[in-house]
Amino acid sequence: MSNQRPDGITPSQTVGPYFKYGLTPNGEYEWNDAFTNNLLTPDVSGERIRVEGHVYDGDGAVIPDCMLEVWQADSQGRFSDPQDQRALANSSFKGFGRCGTDKSGAYAFDTIKPGVVPDADGKPQAPHIVLAVFARGMLLHLYTRIYFDDEAGNAKDSVLALVPADRRATLIAKKAGSGNAYTFDVHLQGDNETVFFDV
């Protein structure tokens, strides 16, 4: 290995239209999935939920070749990563999932409602899932957050507070009916454009 300091990071490029057989084969190609859209493990505790929705482009057309990745804490607000030095999670829950959209632009994740994680000042954040969006036509993926409409903590969340009030709803998944499903649509562009973060 050269010990030279690199002159910068490797630039991002699009995942293109053909990632499915490598990243999200889901039984349709002869390659195993490293990750799926089911984050649940038999030993995980917490409220089981489904987060589902569609991804749209600037014309309001569904995006059938999108890949979504989620990252979240467990129900007690702990990440399955030793860099989270507060306490080790006590289950095999990893908190990471990946899903390709289908022909109708739909996706779904089965997971648990995450717990409370501190913000940069150590104050509690409302429960949220971090979402990364990848697709053909996206040279660099986008980051956003999924909050939940039945969480009182949203009102005091320091990240939501950065978002203009009239756009905040794009970050909040809505409980659909009496079940455990939340709806969260992603609009890459347009009147309902989802808020994305510069992180």
């Binding site: 482009d57 990563d81 980051y143």
Partner: protein, 233 residues
């Protein structure tokens, strides 16, 4: 070790709206992205062990009954952070077209043959020094519909995780001296020539295996540095 992730590092990336690559026009946000301070949600990331990678997942030439057609190559290098330190035990995934420039994806209708012995998907984990290695077939160039007579330079798609969710990188590795570089809007979406050069592998004669395979080196540099905190007193 906790790393910092300065936003300035992101200057190397392409603009999300790069109109020469037509699909970006309707798939890039028009409202400004909102800056925020990183929290644990951004500063942590998935950790995967060897259970995610099977033996030989990094050799794309032995996944089928027979050997794939084309030019066998070795692609290796280090996953590094911005200080040049190896990123250990991180997942590296790749996918690519076959030697004829055809993907097995059902949407790819380029009239070039599929190879029954080549899927084009692989994964590995970097070792304790950040080193990774794949054995594969040199992919072919292929046409696409972006503009008249548009061809993608030969490339291999890479997906890498790194230490945190904000170090996540999906990129494409190119081959040195490709005559299609000046005409490819995806490659040229990276406007800085030095940054573009970091997407091009280098021919590695020292690690080329005699009588067997040419070797290319591709180091992947992820966000993150261990800056010394400023003294405030």
């Amino acid at each position: 070790m906790t790393l910092l992730y300065p936003l300035q590092s992101l200057a190397a990336h392409p603009a999300r709206l790069s109109p020469d690559y037509r699909s970006t026009v309707k798939r890039s946000p028009q409202k400004p992205l909102i800056p925020m301070r990183h929290t644990l949600s951004e500063l942590t990331g998935p950790v995967y062990g060897h259970e995610t990678v099977r033996a030989h997942d990094n050799d794309l030439t032995i996944q089928a009954k027979g050997e794939p057609l084309g030019e066998r190559i070795i692609v290796h290098g280090h996953v590094l952070d911005e200080d040049g330190r190896g990123v250990p035990n991180t997942l590296v995934e790749l996918w690519q077209a076959n030697a004829c420039g055809r993907y097995i994806h059902v949407v790819d209708q380029h009239p070039a043959p599929l190879d029954p012995n080549f899927t084009g998907a692989g994964r590995t984990q970097s070792d304790a020094d950040g080193y990774y290695k794949f054995i594969t077939i040199k992919p072919g160039a292929y046409p696409w519909g972006n503009h008249h007579n548009a061809w993608r330079p030969a490339h291999i798609h890479f997906s890498v995780f790194g230490h945190s969710f904000v170090s996540r990188l999906v990129t494409q590795m190119y081959f040195p001296g490709d005559p299609l570089f000046p005409f490819d809007p995806i490659f040229n979406s990276v406007t800085d020539a030095k940054a573009r050069a970091r997407m091009i592998s280098s021919f590695d004669l020292d690690n080329t295996k005699p009588e067997w395979a040419l070797c290319y080196r591709f180091d992947i540099v992820l966000r993150g540095r261990n800056a010394t905190p400023m003294e405030t007193k």
